[in-house]
Structures are given as structure tokens and as C-alpha cells.
């Protein structure tokens, strides 16, 4: 029988996946004002690519995962350079449609290559189960949550202590001001997409491990929820993005367990709408200046 702490744990694990995905979205939106629906597609490609590298090419897990992350980072950079950069400054509708085009292209290419059905993901981590009272904890859950927290801490460090990181924070606060200070937006954009997409790829791999299967449609909804996390947590705040991601993860776990599994999706998007109506800057967001 499932207990509250069990649900919370599951919520944290899924929340971690949302967080990894949401970071890219948060930075992209914060600095470049791009609502990157295609991001979910990169996440999906990460999962599918890792599947091939592990199951078909039988590469050692560490190499497969590294290659996946790098490939996804590269994909993000390509998208930025060829799809988004030319549209910089264009209105939100145009970038949205372009973004959707990318997502459609990725999803359907994936369907061609891997087929439309979910495929079992190689569970290259031997499963260990621990018990903490009535709660069942798997090493996988621990891995996902811990890895995310470590990465996020690392990201915060990079943002606060490196030049590029500070430039990013500055640009999130005030993009025009950042430009005036001589910050090279092109380099920044590339870096943001590389890091965000790399993390998305990693999230895809973790999803495969945690939820045991991957399929070409897994990106769309997940990407949208990650975006909801960004908005709820507060645009322009990396810490807010985490908060939003874990909040959604937990909320969904609770709603699925105690109310109805189906309303799980509705609750997230309803919360998104509510946030924008009541407190557009989100939980931790500050007023972000328009570029």
C-alpha cells in the first residue's frame, strides 16, 4: 500500500526530471524570450539516441550517456544558430510556430527511425531497493534526485562565479542592458542552448532508466510541463525554476494518488494559468525587463 512519503518521493523523482528540462527553458526564455516548445523534442531524442547507443551499438553506459548529452547539446546549438537566431526580435507567434516545426520534425523523424511504439530502455543500472519504514526507495530514484540536485548546485555555481554565468544572470535581468555592456549575445545564446539541451538529453536518458521505456511522443507533454514549471517558479529565476519543477512533480504525484490520475495534467496547466493571472512573475521571479 502506498503511503504519503512514497508519493512524495515519486514526486521528487519526476520533479527532478522536470527540473533538468526546465533549466534550459528558463534560460532560453529569460535571456532570449524564446518559448522553446522544441525543447521537449531534444529530451525525447536524448532518450531515443541513448537507446540506440546502448541497445544496438552496445556501447558502455558512460560513453553512451556522454555521447547522448553531447549530441543533444549540439542539436540545441544547431537549432539556435539556424532556426532561432534569424528570428531574434521577431514576435512570439513566429518563434512559436518555428519551434513547433522543429518539434514536429524531430518527433516524426524519430518515428521513422525508431518506430512509433514505446521501446524498453536498457536498464544498465542494477536495481537496488532500500526500505525506509513503509517507503520503498530505489537506487534509481536516489540517483535521479541526487544527480539533479548536484547539477543544479553546480549550475548555480557556474552562474554566480564564472564570467559567462554572470553574463547570463545579467541578461536574464535585463537583456538590452547586457547587450549594451558588451556581452556577446550570440555566444551567450549558444552556451545557453548547449547547456540546456545537454541537460535535456540527460533527462531523456534518466527517463528511460526511471520509467523503463522511451517513445517518440514522450517529449511534447513533458516539455510543456517543464515550461509550466518555469512560469510557476518564476521567470528570470533559476532557483524559482527548481522550485516550480519540484512543486509540479509533487503536486502531480499527490493529485494522481488521491484525486484522479487523469486530472494530473490538468492541475499543472490550471496552476500555470492561475499563476499568470494572479502573480505573473511567478513564485520567485522578479520583474524581468523586456529586451
Amino acid at each position: 500500500m502506498s503511503v504519503l512519503p512514497q508519493h512524495l518521493l515519486n514526486g521528487l523523482a519526476v520533479g527532478s526530471l522536470y527540473a533538468l528540462l526546465a533549466i534550459g527553458l528558463s534560460l532560453t526564455y529569460g535571456v532570449l524570450r524564446i518559448i522553446n516548445i522544441a525543447h521537449g523534442g531534444v529530451y525525447m531524442i536524448g532518450g531515443m539516441l541513448a537507446l540506440t547507443l546502448l541497445a544496438v551499438m552496445r556501447l558502455p553506459p558512460l560513453i553512451a550517456v556522454t555521447l547522448t548529452i553531447l549530441a543533444c547539446a549540439g542539436l540545441g546549438v544547431v537549432f539556435e544558430r539556424f532556426a532561432y537566431r534569424p528570428l531574434r526580435g521577431a514576435n512570439v507567434i513566429v518563434t512559436l510556430i518555428s519551434s513547433l516545426g522543429l518539434l514536429l520534425a524531430m518527433e516524426n523523424l524519430a518515428r521513422v527511425i525508431w518506430g512509433p511504439l514505446p521501446q524498453p530502455f536498457p536498464q544498465f543500472l542494477p536495481l537496488h531497493i532500500y526500505r525506509a519504514g513503509p517507503v520503498v526507495v530505489t537506487n534509481l530514484q536516489v540517483l535521479v534526485i541526487a544527480l539533479t540536485l548536484v547539477l543544479m548546485a553546480g549550475l548555480q555555481w557556474v552562474l554566480r562565479k564564472t564570467t559567462l554565468g554572470l553574463a547570463t544572470l545579467a541578461a536574464v535581468q535585463n537583456a538590452r542592458g547586457a547587450r549594451l555592456l558588451g556581452i556577446n549575445i550570440d555566444v551567450l545564446a549558444m552556451a545557453i542552448f548547449a547547456v540546456g539541451s545537454g541537460l535535456a538529453g540527460l533527462a531523456g536518458v534518466l527517463e528511460g532508466l526511471y520509467l523503463t521505456s522511451v517513445d517518440p511522443s514522450m517529449g511534447q507533454m513533458f516539455g510543456l510541463k517543464a515550461f509550466a514549471a518555469v512560469v510557476i517558479g518564476g521567470m528570470g529565476s533559476v532557483a524559482g525554476t527548481f522550485l516550480g519543477a519540484y512543486l509540479i512533480g509533487l503536486l502531480e504525484a499527490l493529485v494522481a494518488a488521491y484525486v484522479s490520475a487523469g486530472l494530473r495534467d490538468v492541475i499543472t496547466f490550471a496552476l500555470l494559468v492561475l499563476t499568470l493571472m494572479v502573480r505573473p512573475s511567478g513564485l520567485l521571479g522578479r520583474r524581468v525587463d523586456r529586451a
Partner: protein, 292 residues
């Protein structure tokens, strides 16, 4: 005579025509909201859904046919537009895009999960349109679709060349200035949403009686963005834009059927390329060519 026409306009062509006219109606209705009134709305499928589900549910509950569900669905969507348009009074642009995106997903989620909408199974057995005791065939549907699209375009035309249209465009161009010259921007934003919703709802009821089935699948974010794409590709804020966009984006996937599995992949790329080189839409690009 009909035989000859059937040769030229066989079932396949008629089916496409039905699709194009439904899409034109959807795109034209969205054009009023986003193109003329400047309110970004990427949840337009919600109105389409509400219209379709209204038709399905009215049939299930009262046994109504198309001629009764059409005006009812339109009115219900109109009411929905009043509600869903409300956020536009508080947020603009990016934020409005996200809110409407969220609302669209909420509506779809509700359709999927509520019992009375049939849940994941939707509503089946919606009757075909019939008049004078005879069920419509493809010709009937095509005629109805074209009529609906024509009415929608006519209404948009009449609105936009007159005082209300001027008010909408003023709201689009500069809401503050519009307000200062006496235009109640709140009223016009809501009116734009509600009127656009009305026609999308009408399209929804037509769809319900055509497909004879209403399922949550057809009303997701992809649909909303597809509709928006048609408006943009044709040219935002241009009267014939929705027609051009609907024709192009409905026919092109059909024309490239020969590419089989890669069809939607290419379609996706097409969207990216079009936004890159022609963000003002086809009619917008053509207008720019004309010497001033």
C-alpha cells in the same frame, strides 16, 4: 452532370475541400482575435473543442441534429470566449500566449478526463447532417463547409472595414493610445475573443457531424498551433490570409504524401523555413513587393 463533376471533383477532392473550409473557418476566426485585435491566442483549439463537444453532447442528451447544434455550439463557444478572453485584460504578448496555451491544454485535459465528455473514448455516433429527410453526402458537407467559411470571412470583412474593426486594430497597434481616444480596450478584446470563438465553435459542430465522432485528440496544442500557422503563413491581419494559409497548409501535407513516412518531418521543416523567410506571411510578402 453530377457524374462529370464527380470526375473532376471526386471524393478525395471533396474531402479536401471540406477540410480546407473547416480550416479556413478556424483560421479566419483566429485572425480576428490575433491578426486584427492583436491578442495572441494559441489555445484556439479550445473553442473548436467546445463547439464539437457541445454538438456531441446536445445530440447525446436531446437527440439534436446539426441544424440545432450549430447555433447552440456557436453560442456556447461565444460564452467560452468571454471567459477565456478575460486574461487578455491582464496580460499581453508572451504572457498572453502562455496563458492561452495553458487554457487550451486545460480544456483538452478536461475533455479527456471528465465523465460526461466521454473521457478518453469521446462521443461516438454523432449523426450525419441531414435535410429534408436525406443524409448529406460529400457534396452536402462540402457545400456546408464552404458556406460556413464564406459566412465567417464575410463577417470578418464587415467587422474590420467598419468602426468595430478600426477599434480592434487600434487596440492592436497601441492599446494605451486607443484607450485615450475613447476606445474601451477591455470590451473590444473580449468581443474579439468571443466572436472568434463563436465561429470556431460553429466549425466544431460541423466537424462533429462530419467525423460523427468527437475525441480529445483533435483539440490539442498541435491543432492550436496549426491553426495559428495557417493565419501566419497567409498573413496576419489580412482578410484573405486565412484562406491562403488554410489552402496551403491543408494541401501541402497531402501533396507530399508520396514522401510517405517523412511527410510530417518535411512539414515541420517547412514551418521552420517559412517563419525564417516569410514571417509576414504570403500576402504580407506580396504587399511589401508593391511599390508605395
Amino acid at each position: 452532370m453530377t457524374a462529370l463533376l464527380d470526375l473532376m471533383f471526386g471524393p478525395y477532392a471533396l474531402t479536401l475541400l471540406i477540410l480546407v473550409s473547416v480550416n479556413t473557418t478556424l483560421a479566419a476566426s483566429l485572425n480576428l482575435i490575433t491578426g486584427y485585435a492583436g491578442q495572441v491566442s494559441i489555445g484556439h483549439a479550445a473553442f473548436y473543442a467546445i463547439g464539437a463537444y457541445a454538438a456531441g453532447l446536445l445530440f447525446k442528451t436531446f437527440g439534436w441534429g446539426f441544424w440545432l447544434t450549430l447555433p447552440s455550439a456557436a453560442l456556447m463557444s461565444f460564452a467560452a470566449g468571454l471567459v477565456i478572453g478575460a486574461p487578455s485584460l491582464r496580460v499581453e504578448h508572451d504572457f498572453l500566449a502562455i496563458v492561452t496555451l495553458g487554457l487550451g491544454l486545460v480544456v483538452q485535459g478536461l475533455a479527456l478526463n471528465l465523465e460526461f465528455t466521454g473521457g478518453p473514448y469521446g462521443i461516438a455516433g454523432v449523426p450525419r447532417i441531414s435535410a429534408f429527410g436525406r443524409e448529406f453526402g460529400l457534396w452536402g458537407y462540402a457545400a456546408t463547409g464552404v458556406a460556413l467559411a464564406a459566412v465567417t470571412l464575410l463577417v470578418v470583412y464587415r467587422i474590420t472595414r467598419a468602426r468595430p474593426g478600426t477599434a480592434l486594430m487600434a487596440v492592436r497597434e497601441d492599446p494605451l493610445a486607443a484607450e485615450v481616444i475613447g476606445i474601451n480596450t477591455s470590451r473590444y478584446k473580449i468581443l474579439a475573443f468571443a466572436t472568434g470563438a463563436l465561429f470556431a465553435g460553429a466549425a466544431g459542430s460541423l466537424y462533429a457531424h462530419y467525423a460523427t465522432f468527437v475525441g480529445h485528440d483533435s483539440f490539442g496544442l498541435g491543432t492550436s498551433i496549426a491553426i495559428m500557422s495557417m493565419v501566419v503563413v497567409g498573413g496576419l491581419g489580412r482578410l484573405w490570409g486565412p484562406v491562403v494559409g488554410a489552402v496551403l497548409l491543408t494541401l501541402i501535407p497531402e501533396l507530399i504524401r508520396f514522401t510517405a513516412a517523412y511527410r510530417m518531418f518535411l512539414y515541420g521543416l517547412l514551418l521552420v523555413v517559412t517563419m525564417r523567410y516569410m514571417p509576414q506571411g504570403l500576402l504580407g510578402a506580396l504587399a511589401q513587393r508593391k511599390p508605395r
